[in-house]
Amino acid sequence: AQRVTQPEKLLSVFKGAPVELKCNYSYSGSPELFWYVQYSRQRLQLLLRHISRESIKGFTADLNKGETSFHLKKPFAQEEDSAMYYCALSGRIAGTSYGKLTFGQGTILTVHP
């Protein structure tokens, strides 16, 4: 079974402060991890994936297999970062070549001016 846990439902920070959105996962195989974001009145969209190791909009996330974590970080939060963030894990469906994308519960980030 694959599971994604985001322990914080709500996270509030002030503009310019560092922000870290926590994500832990459970999966027996080699996971692919993603962060998706949903801004107000917009559709859910991919923010970044661990395999690309890139920084998007100042956000980075490092896969830590020892701690089974994939926390999302940004050193200086901006007001436009306020959104719902979902951590997601892609795991192979046993006996097939298909995968399943499982989402965490989501974290609502609010960045105050």
Binding site: R43, L44, S90, Y98, L101, G106
Partner: protein, 114 residues
């Protein structure tokens, strides 16, 4: 150009009714999905189809029946609607079904059962 489009955007209906939500993608993707987002914003997969073939059926009541007439369309039909079916339903698509490629989402359909 809207990549993944769902209709309707809002749906209010009475208990016991049957309703359908339509989804179309113009990205040429092979795989399409339905997700349910409940009142606590928890996003859970319901179904996935790859080239019109059902791949994932995630213990969803059989009142829910997906239909994929072609790989660009995945419709969701719900029979005998219940209060607990009230949620936002998201359609999504991806290039292939391994789960390792980006999923593109529709804008969601907010279903309210009264």
């Amino acid at each position: 150009d809207t990549a993944v489009s769902q209709t309707p955007k809002y749906l209010v209906t009475q208990m016991g009714n049957d309703k359908s939500i339509k989804c179309e993608q113009n990205l040429g993707h092979d795989t399409m999905y339905w997700y349910k987002q409940d009142s606590k914003k928890f996003l859970k997969i319901m179904f996935s189809y790859n080239n019109k073939e059902l791949i994932i059926n995630e213990t969803v009541p059989n009142r829910f029946s997906p239909k994929s007439p072609d790989k660009a369309h995945l419709n969701l039909h719900i029979n005998s609607l219940e209060l607990g079916d009230s949620a936002v339903y998201f359609c999504a698509s991806s290039q292939e079904g391994t789960g390792n490629t980006e999923a593109f989402f529709g804008q969601g359909t907010r279903l309210t059962v009264v």
